[in-house]
Amino acid sequence: MKKFTYLLLSLMIALSFSASAGAKTLKVGLDADPVSLDPQVQLSGGMLQLSHWVFDPLVRWTQDLTFEPRLATKWERVDELTMRFYLRKGVKFHSGNTFSAKDVKWSFDRMRKSADFKGLLEPFDGCYIVDDYTVDVKTKKPYALLLNMSTYFFAMDSEFYTGTDANGQPKDMILKVGESFALNNASGTGPFIVTKREHNVVLEMERFKDYWDTKSPGNVTKFILTPIKENATRVAALLSGDVDFISPVPPQDFRRIHSDDKVKLVTISGGRIITFQMNQNRNPALKDVRVRQAIVHAVNNTGIVKKIMKGTATVAAQQGPRGYVGYKESLKPRYDLNKAKALMKEAGYANGFEVTMMAPNNRYVNDAKIAEATAQMLGKIGIKVNLKTMPKAQYWNEFDARAADIMMIGWHSDTEDSGNFSEFLMMCENKETGYGQYNSGYCNPKVDELVLAAQSETDLDKRAAMLQEVEQILYDDAAFVPFHWQNHSYGAKKNIQVKPIINAMNFPYFGDLVIE
């Protein structure tokens, strides 16, 4: 018995040593893990994060929203429609294949077949190979956001994905449900190679030995991602030291993390605007601009940021945040209860009216709480709100059906550009072009005209003026109720240098992460 105890003890000691002797391992706890390994099967935050770990784009965003060369070393405009990218030489894929122009073209062509990316690639004409390390990307019309879109051009290993798999299916098939090679296998040029994946349980990656970016300070050799859904558990995992990095951090736990001297909290302002849309077609009262103004004036969004978001959001009065070309400094939050009451009276609704309101309860940070607070605030100007909140799985169908007078929606611009917000949220709904897909009832031809013109305006100053005018019109029309731009929040151990690798898109570049 004694012998056995000794054996057990020495085994435990040996185990604990071997764990600490391994090089830099990063354990990350996120609220969800990527749904697959195919970077082109779903356009979602989780999949784009993975794409930055396992693949590389032509260019990527920096923290101050400029472009950083990745697989493209430089680029130049050839004519109004064409951008020429000069590609990096000596880049290897995880499979050992060499990266060249054909992979860029192949990935581009495949992306166009993906239901999720098709829409974003609509302005593009195609990708043309000039020589082994040069490609031309052409658009149908002059397009100001060509470089912004190039952040989506992740290179997949064309040789690796060519051929048929064990089931006789082509390896490059894009499939949502079912078996496909690309869903479970990946070969990119990125800093990490996937070594083990069990969906919803763990994703393990190791640093790619032949990674081209030898200048990267990143020193993480093993990267283990565990999805931890429950907020309290995720925070506990960090505080107990079981993981090194978590995101998102729920606002109610900010103080807890601040007060612990082994961990730190890092936040960065993001670009996701949270809004309520007022449906003029469902409720005639909302047709009156005075009523909409009254609602916007009645909502104390500054208070919501302070009380509900615990200061981890930026109060908004327009769609795009500071740093976007359409941002207009003069547009300020408008909370003014007396003015709101006066406007209601002027519009002939001194006694108020009733509206229905819907919001998701697991989509945005504190979404249901924001909706409840708003309902109360509207009560103060006599608007009786019947609020219903529900999980996102049900909410989006209700939103598609425009099932309530006032509905919540948050939006992050795909292109980090102001136009994208209006295209989806504020342009008149048009089933054919797809514009206004998430617009519940606001329609102003002037806005449509300006947004469309801005798409092909390549004079950046003119373009900025147009987009700022759009924000001004929406502000004057009280087209929507602006709340705030959500911050991204990260909790990490003190020795993890979080700040340099985060950005407004919430794509932490773990390849460049330094652990001291």
Partner: protein, 328 residues
């Protein structure tokens, strides 16, 4: 006898049909799985196309009969949208984690409730007994969720002696490929402690009280008095004569409660990020994975129906009156 067996089996089939039908009829209430598969930018037309390809637009009975046909002829319960694997495989893959959690909890309950229950029965007036009884009231009235968070706070954050989430290191049992066990590694067992303890707080008080009252009752019976009169040693009276008879009803209740415990793992698994069936079920609800939900319902129902049918048939063998009442 044969008629009886056939009748029982037909009943079982009917029950299964009804359950699967109920499962199918609620599926549209849970949400739209296509929404979860695509990004928010995908147009309604594209989504409709995906739904069409997945067969979600077919009439209710077409979908239902397709499901039944595949289930009966191929044993195929469909494919999970979320995990992108056959449903049956997903369920089987998640089962070991839950079974180990329940097993660990059962061990804790047995090894704590037996000595404590017996002690409380034998020495009802001591301090320890009074403490145990009042503490057990607290245990019953605390929600598992809260107990779990409290345990994490104390053992994982404050003292940092036990891990806070997950199963830790698991190894493949018998090389089966699907039963990964955490019970054979030090790390795995450390990860089991907190979830098992928090789950056991629910049933532990019940068993302590049950054993205590059963034991007290037995101690009052005539044969125990006779044993005392015979001059047997206390140890022999308590352990051999009284304790044995206490166990009978306890074992019966234990069997039932273990079944119920499987249902209670839901919250524990959520808090501890425990990749078992309860966690899988919650994920499926959140992500509107209706295919997996229906399959799960059918699997659980068929387990119950199977066990009940077998028990019924065995009863028929043992006690002929059951058969007779069955035939009017």
């Amino acid at each position: 006898m044969l008629a009886f067996i056939v009748r029982r089996i037909i009943q079982a089939v009917v029950v299964m049909m009804v359950i699967s039908l109920v499962g199918f009829s609620i599926k549209d209430q849970i949400g739209d799985p296509v929404r979860d598969l695509v990004g928010e930018r995908v147009t309604p037309a594209e989504r409709a196309e995906i739904a069409e390809k997945m067969g979600l637009n077919d009439p209710f009975f077409t979908q239902y009969f397709r499901f039944v046909k595949n289930a009966v002829t191929k044993g195929d319960l469909g494919r999970s949208f979320l995990y992108n694997k056959p449903n049956l495989e997903v369920i089987i893959h998640h089962a070991p984690a839950t079974i180990e959690l329940v097993f660990g909890t059962a061990l804790i309950i047995i090894f704590i409730s037996l000595p404590l229950g017996v002690y409380c029965a034998l020495r009802p007036r001591t301090l320890l007994s009074r403490f145990t009884m009042s503490f057990s009231t607290l245990g019953v009235s605390m929600p598992v969720y809260l107990t779990a968070i409290l345990l994490i706070f104390l053992f994982a954050i404050h003292w940092q002696v036990l891990p806070s989430y997950g199963r830790g290191e698991t190894i493949d049992l018998f090389g089966l490929g699907w039963w990964s066990t955490g019970m054979l590694t030090v790390d795995g067992i450390r990860h089991l402690i907190l979830p098992c303890v928090s789950l056991s707080t629910l049933m532990l008080p019940l068993f302590i009280r049950l054993i205590r009252s059963e034991m007290m009752e037995v101690l009052e019976t005539e044969y125990i008095k006779y044993a005392w009169a015979k001059g047997l040693s206390p140890a022999r009276v308590w352990m051999v004569h009284a304790f044995k008879n206490t166990l009978l009803p306890v074992i019966t209740v234990f069997g039932v409660q273990v079944g119920i415990m499987f249902a209670f793992t839901l919250l524990t698994e959520l808090v501890f990020q425990w990749p078992g069936m309860g966690f899988m079920f919650l994920e499926a609800v959140h992500r509107a994975d209706i295919s997996l939900l229906i399959a799960y319902l059918v699997v659980v129902a068929s387990l119950f129906v199977f066990v009940n049918t077998v028990v019924d048939i065995l009863y028929g063998f043992i006690n002929p009156t059951v058969r007779i009442t069955g035939t009017k």
